[in-house]
């Protein structure tokens, strides 16, 4: 479990995060949602340790990140896998080379075992016949899969994904979401996904944290998100025409349910 307590972050005198607290549970897909510019990426970077918050504490299974020494932080980082928004694959390495990279740097396995593990991870994300291709030679969806394979190569305890669906078509987005959800449950990983894609929210939102203007406005899951009374959350969720239709449908459904209850 990862816990964030009262995280505040400033950039050039401007406060971006205001006392954000949240819990991200193990074996669940935890989503951080919010509009563009709401501070969710900054929050995630604080969680990963790429940014240092001016105030607050982050705990990895009870270990205070701020209190860890350099060697302990280094050890912790080997337990973290990250899927970046643009995949962040190494341009000069092939698909296999990218997945092998963390193994080569940190794994005590022999070269043959590393190769086997890398091939297993590539197969696990459903990539075939792409081992010798360079990132520029494969599609965006395939790049995301390679990035996921690289992120899980060292069997991480924590997996962070920054907008994994950005730039992907809806069908591929669903496949990536399903893959992340499957991996989370299969390996009991604490997965944190940063997204503003409502399809992801409904598909894999087992624990959701809503960030609005640098503040945590709401926490819940895919079942409770439509019943929230939070104005800012409703504005975010029902922004698109499709979800406005969904809202009307749900309101009619709630109305008929309450009518039935009152008659009963």
């Amino acid at each position: 479990m990862i816990e964030a307590h009262n995280i505040s972050k400033w950039f050039d005198g401007q406060q971006i995060l205001f006392d954000v607290s949240a819990k991200f549970e193990t074996g669940k897909t935890n989503l951080i949602i919010g509009q563009s510019g709401s501070g969710k990426t900054v929050f995630m970077k604080c969680l990963i340790g790429l940014l240092t918050p001016e105030e607050g504490e982050i705990l990895y299974d009870g270990r205070k990140f701020r209190s860890l020494d350099i060697e302990q932080k280094r050890q912790l980082r080997t337990e973290i896998g990250v899927l970046f928004q643009g995949s962040a694959l190494f341009d000069n390495e092939t698909v296999l080379g990218n997945v092998m990279f963390p193994l080569k740097m940190f794994s005590p396995l022999s070269h043959a075992e590393q190769l086997e593990r890398a091939r297993f991870c590539i197969n696990r994300v459903g990539l075939k016949n792409a081992n010798d291709k360079y990132p520029s030679e494969i599609s965006g969806g395939m790049q995301k899969r390679v990035a996921i394979a690289r992120a899980i190569a060292l069997n991480p305890k924590y997996l962070f994904c920054d907008e994994p669906n950005s730039g992907l078509d809806p069908k591929t987005s669903i496949l990536i979401d399903e893959l992340l959800s499957d991996i989370t449950h299969e390996y009991e990983i604490t997965t944190i996904i940063n997204t503003h894609d409502m399809n992801s929210v409904l598909g894999i939102g087992e624990n959701i944290v809503f960030i609005n203007q640098g503040r945590c406005d709401w926490t819940g899951n895919d079942k409770t998100i439509f019943r929230s009374k939070s104005k800012s959350l409703n504005e975010f969720v029902f922004a698109s025409r499709l979800f406005k239709e969904v809202k009307l449908f749900l309101e009619r459904q709630y109305e008929s349910e309450s009518n039935a209850e009152s008659k009963g």
Binding site: R77, V82, G86, A88
Partner: protein, 248 residues
């Protein structure tokens, strides 16, 4: 302006402390080192050869045209060509040219890695990215620059010999006699020492500008320009200091 320069210098020194650490994996370091020697050094050989031949030829022609006094012996053309090539061209001028090629290459490569989050990905894995990416470039180029320097001297002199052999501006015998006259071995060492210092400036300054780039492709281009300009100025400054220290 002054405060900002001091701040940049401090940031550069801190960056170097990150770079000069013991590599996490020696095996990976040596693999990268070989790649960098090939990419930064071996790939520069054709450029160095072409430029050196032409500049050597031009220096020979200009010396022949300008040294017309009956008090100066004809072999002085060969002597002057050799001294100019060894003392200044094969070290300073060649490194200024390489600052453009190698410097912009390093800066844009690392800058692109920064803006596409590849460096962040390494940091997240717990890798010292400055050390992993930059150290093989600095060491590789420093190791290979003496080869480029010596090649430049050789082909520069060859350019002069071509002019002496295939034109009637100066006799081949006089030119070669000039090349062999009053030779001071220390000048070769002086030139190679300068090359080593300039190689360090080119790689470390370019890597510094690339590593701290913020933004997108436009900023990567700007950082490459800054890297080339800054390293060129630093090369000229170091040239003055080293000449004073080593030749006086």
């Amino acid at each position: 302006m002054f405060a900002s320069s001091i701040k940049t210098l401090g940031k550069y020194c801190l960056f170097l402390t990150q770079v000069f650490r013991v590599p996490d994996k020696w095996r990976e370091f040596f693999k990268s080192l070989v790649k960098e020697i090939y990419k930064l050094g071996v790939d520069s050989i054709p450029l160095v050869i072409i430029i050196s031949i032409f500049i050597g030829a031009v220096i020979c022609i200009q010396m022949t045209i300008n040294i017309v006094s009956p008090l100066i012996p004809t072999y002085a053309t060969g002597l002057a060509t050799r001294e100019i090539l060894i003392l200044e061209f094969s070290s300073t001028m060649m490194c200024l040219i390489l600052a453009g090629k190698v410097g912009s290459n390093i800066s844009s490569e690392i800058g692109t890695m920064r803006v596409t989050e590849q460096i962040d990905a390494m940091e997240i894995m717990g890798i010292n990215s400055a050390n992993f990416i930059v150290l093989p470039k600095i060491i590789g180029f420093i190791l290979f620059i003496p080869v480029l320097g010596i090649l430049s001297m050789f082909f520069g002199i060859l350019g002069g010999i071509i002019i002496a052999e295939f034109t009637d501006m100066i006799s081949y015998e006089h030119f070669v006699y000039g090349l062999q006259s009053f030779f001071n071995e220390w000048h070769i060492w002086y030139s190679l020492i300068k090359c080593l210092v300039f190689a360090f400036i080119i790689t470390s300054v370019a890597a510094f500008y690339g590593y701290y780039v913020k933004g997108g492709s436009l900023e990567v281009g700007q950082s490459s320009t800054k890297a080339v300009v800054s390293s060129s100025i630093l090369i000229l400054l170091a040239d003055v200091i080293l000449t004073k220290l080593l030749l006086q």
